[in-house]
């Protein structure tokens, strides 16, 4: 069953220099129990996408086109009051910075209990009991006694467990994890990712895993969406993407990885940089860095499905009308 469907989403920023699209024609879906990874460099629109889904866009940004469909209900135009009932209840979210993601003046337990009381209407005592159960589930040792501890008494990894506990507290259908392990030590990263996998299995949640780390994609995702400059340039199963990347950007990404666990931030083989928002080209946004740039690339390329039913699509003129992998190489 599909948990989340993004249909032709466009998010527009009102800048001093004029409007610009931070996301263009973004479409994908996440199934129950499935992990969809969103990869790309900083500035590719990953976080803007998460905020568009959550309805937490900054005031200068609006969804100008398309739909965010949760289950079977479009939520992109819901008023704030309705979104407050969606966030935390139907969508949980885990953030990058565990050190600052928790309010320093409230106990961790009360922060986990809060959505339980808000969304599930639990009494204070019930919420406390449930919160302790949750803390045990995310493997916080001696959970009952740590309910009344404050965030500063927890390590980074433990705080991220707290954030996860509160994200899954109301058993959401969708979990968005935005760079959940980037700020953590390598050993802790692995524990947190395994924990997310386990919880996802138990809850049958759909998970949107936002990351710039291809190793995490390879180890923990089912399918991948590759983003560049606000466009979904390619989407495929992890296997298909790693075996046969179709978009020049995705190819460069993978080619730049002598080892699979290397960060995209170290990416050196693609010359140039992600263009700044105000100077995004109208057509393909990879045009300035693409070795295969053609005249036609000045126009927005269509999304092309490679092979019937493979769910492997690429947004590139090279693959339009008889274009093949051979033509790219």
């Amino acid at each position: 069953m599909t948990v989340l469907t993004i249909e032709n989403l466009r998010t527009t920023l009102r800048l001093d220099s004029g409007d610009c699209d931070a996301l263009r024609e973004v479409s994908f879906s996440v199934d129950e129990g499935e992990t969809l990874a969103i990869v790309g460099e900083s500035g590719c629109g990953k976080s803007m996408l998460a905020m568009s889904i959550m309805g937490l866009l900054p005031s200068i940004a609006t969804i100008s086109e398309g739909h965010v469909v949760l289950g079977s209900r479009a939520i992109e135009a819901e008023p704030e009051a309705a979104m407050e009932k969606v966030r935390g209840a139907e969508i949980g979210m885990v953030f990058q910075e565990p050190m600052t993601a928790l309010n320093p003046v409230f106990t961790v337990g009360s922060q986990i209990a809060e959505p339980l009381r808000d969304h599930l209407g639990l009494s204070r005592a019930e919420a406390r009991k449930t919160a302790i159960d949750l803390m045990e589930r995310v493997r916080i040792p001696s959970a009952a006694s740590r309910y009344d501890s404050y965030p500063h008494e927890f390590s980074g990894g433990m705080r991220q467990r707290v954030v996860i506990a509160l994200a899954i507290a109301c058993r959401p259908k969708l979990l968005i994890a935005d760079e959940p392990t980037t700020a953590l030590d390598v050993t802790v990263q692995r524990q947190i990712l395994d924990l997310l996998d386990t919880l996802q299995d138990q809850e049958k949640m759909g998970m949107l895993l936002i990351t710039h780390n291809l190793a995490i994609v390879a180890g923990h995702a089912d399918r991948v969406v590759v983003m560049y400059g606000g466009d979904v340039v390619e989407q495929a199963t992890v296997r298909d993407l790693f075996r046969s990347p179709a978009h020049p950007y995705a190819r460069a990404l993978l080619a730049s990885l002598p080892r699979v666990d290397r960060d995209l931030s170290e990416l050196a083989s693609i010359p140039g940089r992600v263009p700044p928002l105000a100077k995004l080209p109208d057509g393909c946004r990879f045009i300035d860095r693409c070795p295969h740039a053609m005249d036609v690339c000045g126009k927005m390329p269509p999304a092309v499905e490679l092979g019937q039913g493979t769910r492997h699509t690429v947004r590139c003129w090279l693959h339009v009308e008889g274009g093949s992998d051979a033509a790219v190489g």
Binding site: M54, E84, N103, F106, P115, H152
Partner: protein
């Protein structure tokens, strides 16, 4: 918690000692012999010598200082040069009025200033923000005596809502006492409100951008509660710190307020001591002010410890 408070008090001892020394020195660098001022120019040398002996002024300065300290240690601030009353008695007599005025002023300032600051931050650049900006600019621009005179004129003289002269009312007449406290406290509070509103607005703007506010929004906390609970609790840390720093300004304003509203208090005592050149009383008042400021600083830390859980363990 108490241990922390005690430790904090211990660190204040050097400051206190320095202030005491200052009070001692200050009163002794005054040009002119107090004996001449008090006994008059015509005083006989014998009378002057007797006065010096009685007040200890014939002793070497370090002996005077030791005597001063040992007196202090016994809770004795000496005897007024003019009225022969113990200084401590005079101070204790009026201290409640100054304390009640100061704390009422802080209460008014915080209770009005914090919501204004929050509303201004919420409106950020909107009509409410500008209105509050103008109100706080007014608050910052009123010297306490100007606002006091104008308030007295409008609310006591013209409208007659409050007594023109807030004479000392006994504690057994709580309504009369509150009534005479109202205008002076509002006067102190309105000026403080302007500062508190600014501190709150600035803090709020920063905190609303923080990660934990985003977390709260992501878990579906209603906007109202995010502002008034999640963010405000953190802003209060800044407000507490500010209130501690502002207290010495508030004490200064209370002197002027006491004069305008003719209230008894430390401020009026200072002015009286200056007019009559009563240096022992002045010395005692300097000590009293210093202790008051030091205690308020400690109290601020205590409040800070109550609001911020990080203080207890670190």
């Amino acid at each position: 918690m108490l241990g922390y408070f005690g430790k904090r008090l211990l660190t204040l001892i050097p400051t206190l000692f320095a202030v005491l020394t200052l009070a001692f020195v200050l009163v002794r660098i005054v040009p002119g012999d107090p004996a001449l001022i008090i006994l008059g120019d015509q005083a006989t040398p014998e009378a002057i010598a007797r006065f010096h002996e009685a007040t200890g002024l014939d002793q070497p300065i370090w002996r005077q200082f030791l005597a001063f300290l040992s007196q202090l240690a016994h809770g004795d601030l000496g005897v007024s040069m003019i009225s022969n009353r113990p200084v401590l008695t005079s101070i204790i007599e009026v201290l409640p009025y100054t304390l009640e005025l100061s704390f009422a002023g802080v209460l008014v300032g915080v209770v009005l200033g914090v919501p204004l600051g929050v509303i201004a931050a919420r409106s950020n650049g909107g009509v409410a923000d500008w209105a509050i900006r103008i109100v706080t600019l007014g608050g910052l621009s009123f010297p306490a005596f100007v606002s006091a005179v104008l308030m007295l004129l409008v609310f006591a003289v013209w409208l007659g809502w409050f007594p023109v002269i807030s004479t000392a009312k006994p504690i057994t007449d709580p309504i009369g006492r509150l009534n005479s406290l109202a205008l002076p406290a509002i006067n102190l509070g309105l000026v403080m409100m302007a500062y508190v509103a600014r501190v709150t607005r600035g803090g709020m703007m920063n905190i609303m951008r923080s990660d934990y506010i985003r977390t709260a929004r992501a878990k579906g906390v209603p906007a109202r509660r995010i502002v008034w609970k999640h963010a405000l609790r953190n802003v209060l840390l800044a407000v507490v710190t500010f209130t501690g720093l502002y207290f010495s300004v508030l004490i200064g304003n209370s002197v002027l307020t006491e004069i305008v509203f003719n209230r008894p208090g430390l401020g009026k005592l200072v002015i009286g001591a200056l007019e009559r050149r009563d240096y022992t009383l002045l010395q005692g008042l300097v000590v009293a002010y210093a202790i008051l400021v030091v205690l308020v600083n400690a109290l601020t830390d205590l409040c800070y410890g109550l609001v911020d859980p990080r203080v207890k363990t670190s």
